[in-house]
Symmetry: C2
Subunit: 315 residues, 2 copies
């Protein structure tokens, strides 16, 4: 989404008076992100990112902000929210809920190697381990309830083969028992564009606004489906093994997770097929979401059903 | 101080098991710092600095660690302490109090320009403003009490002109009324080597282990005496005006501060003359402090007494 709530230098300067990060030098809209308005903000003391929340209910925002703070506090490279002088993360600017976070350095790598995938796998495990001590709970906003609701809305817009696939996969997923899987706070959207690389290191994991509590393995499946795939959606075994082995080295997979791996890869593919199909067929009025091709994840789902998938180590 | 408490890879790996920052890749001693043992620590998830505290009493350490956490939390580029899985900053390693902090990027600039001094002045004001909401209190460990005690110990080792200068300056400082000055948490050691530059930006302000509660103006004086001086100790007016104007723009000096500026520059010079003279004449057994030339700050003190000093803007 491009910038669509404007913020004047004057109102931003006033607003920054509530913080201890110096005075405004400049701000610049960021034409990325799918549900928020973001600006790079430079002050006399540093560089930050300002987010205005366009669609997430205000009551749900503390879960995300305190999660980022918790992970940063435990030493992981996530954007630490900046507290104002009243020690609050969340304020109001241009009549929208608004927060400042530290600006992390680095840039996305869109053609990752097995080495990148290993680092992402290790980092994801680290986020899961640190998240275990996070006290707030909020259901994964794109979890099972959302899936049922969204499938019903999207189904009429699909062609016959799409409807057949959707019905069969919903029935298959309904049979799965994911209850025994370790749960916790998950990122749930760790795509290539949400990792910033500072040379060989991960300098930042960003965009926690799809996070929630769910099976940790769902997060691994979302991540593998994006990081370890060829352009046609099939897995690159080198990259997928690198990601899974590195994750396993930090947080060993449980027996239940090994058993659930293949169904979970399908659940993760289904989630992105559905959200993209919803954005494509049922765009919200006035929303300028960058519409991604829903077929990409329909193809990935078909591939995950058709082929044996790489298994985590130890299985 | 060079590394003098060894830490084995095995014991460090064990210790890192209490954190959520991945597994040890390597650690390397840092041959800098005057009172602690420091290591660069690289894990599978990131880069950190490990500090073993050699001489600061354990009971005084939370003041420093929580101050760094407070300032980082408010968006300033200081090394954020890393919490372990029990949410503690302070642990024990090799029988010493130990803490991990985030490793900041950048390097020191030892020949600063007026532009550097302006950024340092602004950052110092930002630290002071953010520090106003810090709840813990600990007296500046190199404040008035320390000065009296140290002057008595150092005096017998000075030559006649040094003793004369010391006696006169102690008498002069005893007459000053600093009570009306704004107080708060101060860094108290913001020398050139404690600021890391990331291009034109300050990427890190480090080494908070002389911090304490005292007059904010003392911190400005310590900083100006280092950043704005020529090799002979005299002020470079361009740099000192840049530093003071930038500080003033963030936190305007009060009338009492403008009046106290010249005596405070002398107090700040005296503090470093005394600590260097102590290190030089009365080294502690077994301590491998990098001994700095005490005459440098004796000269600075004489210059501050002899010459009009640049005044903060508005005076």
């Amino acid at each position: 989404m491009s910038v669509f709530t404007p913020v004047t230098a004057e109102s931003l300067s006033d607003w920054l008076g509530g913080y201890a990060i110096g005075r405004l030098v400049e701000h610049q809209g960021i034409s990325a992100g799918v549900q928020n308005t973001n600006f790079f903000v430079t002050t006399t003391l540093g560089r930050y990112v300002l987010t205005l929340f366009e669609s997430i209910p205000r009551a749900e925002l503390p879960y995300y902000l305190y999660l980022m703070a918790h992970l940063a506090h435990h030493g992981l490279p996530v954007p630490a929210p900046v507290a104002d002088r009243n020690n609050e993360y969340l304020g109001t600017l241009s009549d929208k809920p608004a927060a400042l976070v530290a600006r992390l350095s680095g840039r996305s790598v869109m053609e990752p190697t097995a080495q990148h995938c290993a680092k992402v796998g290790a980092m994801l495990a680290g986020l899961h381990l640190a998240g275990q001590s996070y006290g707030r709970r909020q259901e994964n906003p794109r979890g099972a309830h959302w899936r049922t609701r969204t499938a019903a809305r999207v189904r009429p817009h699909l062609d016959a083969s799409g409807r057949e696939l959707l019905d069969a996969e919903l029935a298959f997923q309904a049979q799965q028992r994911y209850d025994a899987l370790p749960r916790g706070a998950i990122h749930a959207d760790l795509f290539r564009d949400n990792v910033l690389w500072d040379g060989d290191y991960i300098g930042g994991v960003i965009d926690f606004y799809f996070a929630g509590n769910d099976a940790l393995l769902f997060d691994v499946a979302v991540t593998a489906n994006d990081w370890c795939t060829e352009p046609d959606g099939s897995f690159d075994p080198d990259r997928s093994q690198a990601l899974l082995a590195a994750y396993h080295a930090e947080r060993p997979f449980t027996r239940a997770e090994l058993d659930a791996w293949q169904p979970m890869l399908r659940a993760a593919a289904l989630r992105f097929w559905l959200s993209r199909a919803e954005d494509f067929h049922l765009p919200k009025p006035g929303e300028m979401v960058l519409v991604k091709n829903p077929d990409e994840y329909q193809d990935i789902l078909r591939l995950r059903i058709a082929h044996g998938c790489p298994m985590p180590p130890g299985s």
